[in-house]
């Protein structure tokens, strides 16, 4: 690489060295952990706020409105004001609820998102955990989120909550299959489950271009299934306002509600980041075969901008779906998954295997 200044490993190792010189190893470890934890906390909080703002603005764009405009310049402080408002609201635990499980549910959804975000590669060397089973780890951890949702719905002891949780559970576990199988399709192509390895393998070209037909099919299925996984429209019947008030989090108030909201948006980020890593080359810049000048210019843009640019693009697409398609019914959702996506996915895996074995890819 021509631009090593964009490599974050130099930054992290220099911090590590300067700390090691003056402090005992245990203290160094503690400080580093605190730093990583704090930066994760700040990232999640900030990104959640930005995404909520973005969602409102994108919604306004599609409905030819202005969206939030009053609080701060272009309404930029609107979500912060909302956050403060939610923080200052009284917490309510309903009388009939199972108190312990009711309060446990927001913990579970947030813990799951934090643990999944640990494996996301933001740029070269800017990845907290780089397992050799990274992709498998992310899919395994993020599938635990459904437990939080089911707990929330069940423990609230409210009929709306229960119906919402059940729908959401059926939907999430169904679409998890599709997400898992598209991940497998791309692992076949990459030959590794390590996230940094997958990103490195795309230096010569993104998988969506190199894997052509099966990769594009997998990408489309991943987007559909990812939208369903995050409970977003058109698959948001778990919290269909017109029939279930707010679905599984009907009984949650104040900051507890905000955590479900935050988890939804961080999950949206995780799905988009996984799509970016698996199909769009992670933080790798766009390269076209032998256009040296073009490739050089693309190298000049820092990887972290590439990563967030691609993630934002996918997030925008998923928001676009939400404001374009009408909400599906529960039977339509299950039919789409089990009768269309699952068989197509299985054939797609075979096609991808054939293409990899025959070497019919770029």
């Amino acid at each position: 690489m021509a631009f090593d200044i964009y490599d974050f490993t130099t930054l992290t190792s220099s911090i590590h060295q300067s700390l090691s010189e003056s402090l005992p190893p245990l203290a160094v470890e503690m400080i580093e952990w605190t730093l990583v934890g704090l930066s994760m906390l700040i990232f999640v909080a900030l990104f959640g706020l930005i995404l909520v703002y973005l969602e409102r603005k994108v919604c306004a764009l599609f409905q030819q409105r202005l969206g939030p405009m009053r609080v701060g310049k272009w309404g930029l402080l609107q979500t912060i004001a909302d956050f403060v408002k939610l923080l200052m609201k009284e917490l309510i635990t309903p009388n009939r609820a199972d108190k312990f499980l009711y309060n446990l549910a927001p913990f579970i959804v947030i813990i799951v998102t934090f643990m999944a975000i640990a494996a996301i590669p933001f740029a070269k060397g800017l990845q907290a955990l780089d397992f050799d089973i990274g992709v498998f780890y992310v899919s395994a951890i993020s599938s635990l989120g459904v437990i939080g949702i089911l707990l929330a719905g069940w423990a609230s002891n409210n009929k709306y909550s229960l119906i919402g949780a059940m729908r959401s559970g059926a939907q999430i576990i169904s679409y998890e299959l599709s997400v898992g199988l598209t991940l497998i399709t791309m692992i076949i192509f990459a030959g590794t489950m390590q996230i940094s390895g997958i990103v490195d393998a795309q230096a010569s070209g993104w998988f969506i271009f190199r894997g052509h037909i099966p990769a594009i099919i997998a990408f489309i299925i991943f987007l559909i299934a990812g939208t369903a996984e995050t409970n977003r429209g058109p698959f948001d019947l778990a919290e269909a306002e017109s029939e279930l008030t707010a679905g599984f989090h009907t009984e949650y108030s104040g900051i507890k509600f905000a955590f479900f909201f935050l988890a939804e948006y961080v999950n949206l980020f995780i799905v988009s980041a996984m799509a970016t890593v698996l199909f769009l080359g992670g933080w790798q810049p766009l390269h076209f075969g032998s256009f040296e000048g073009f490739n050089q210019v693309m190298d000049f843009i820092p990887p972290i901008f590439w990563f967030f640019g691609k993630v934002m693009f996918i997030i925008y697409m998923i928001m676009w779906f939400k404001w374009t398609f009408p909400r599906l019914r529960v039977d339509q959702i299950l039919t789409l998954e089990w009768k269309y996506l699952l068989p197509v996915n299985l054939f797609n895996i075979l096609l991808m295997t054939l293409i990899v074995l025959m070497g019919w890819h770029f």
């Binding site: 813990i111 009929k159 104040g254």
Partner: protein, 116 residues
């Protein structure tokens, strides 16, 4: 960082949620009346128990999910070594998929995939 630092992310999340919950339960003003802590059903008093037996349809899909998810677990290690294992692995997975496909077809034929 090593994998034991997973605990770090766990702790960070617990601190985030815990501190916000503690703040929110201490600082904001409180009020109480007999109806405030009833289940919210748009103003109408709730009728009967909410912890009910639930439609068996969801249960069927959970079983199907279990079958196919276990299958996916088998596929993950297979997918990483397919390049080395070559055409033998392809034939093996073809047999595996045929059995699975028959299972899916059976469920389809028995109307297990139909929502009622």
């Amino acid at each position: 960082m090593a994998s034991e630092s997973l605990i770090l992310f766990f702790i960070t999340a617990v601190i985030l949620v815990g501190s916000a919950l503690i703040f929110s339960s201490l600082v904001p003003p409180k009020s109480s009346n007999p109806f405030k802590f009833e289940p919210y059903e748009c103003g109408i008093e709730t009728v009967g128990e909410s912890w009910l037996q639930y439609t068996v349809g969801y249960y069927l899909f959970a079983i199907l999910f279990l079958i196919f998810d276990v299958e996916a677990v088998f596929l993950f290690p297979w997918a990483t070594i397919i390049r080395e294992a070559g055409i033998t692995a392809f034939v093996e997975i073809l047999i595996f998929f045929t059995i699975l496909g028959l299972g899916l077809l059976y469920a389809w034929k028995k109307h297990a995939l139909k929502w009622e």
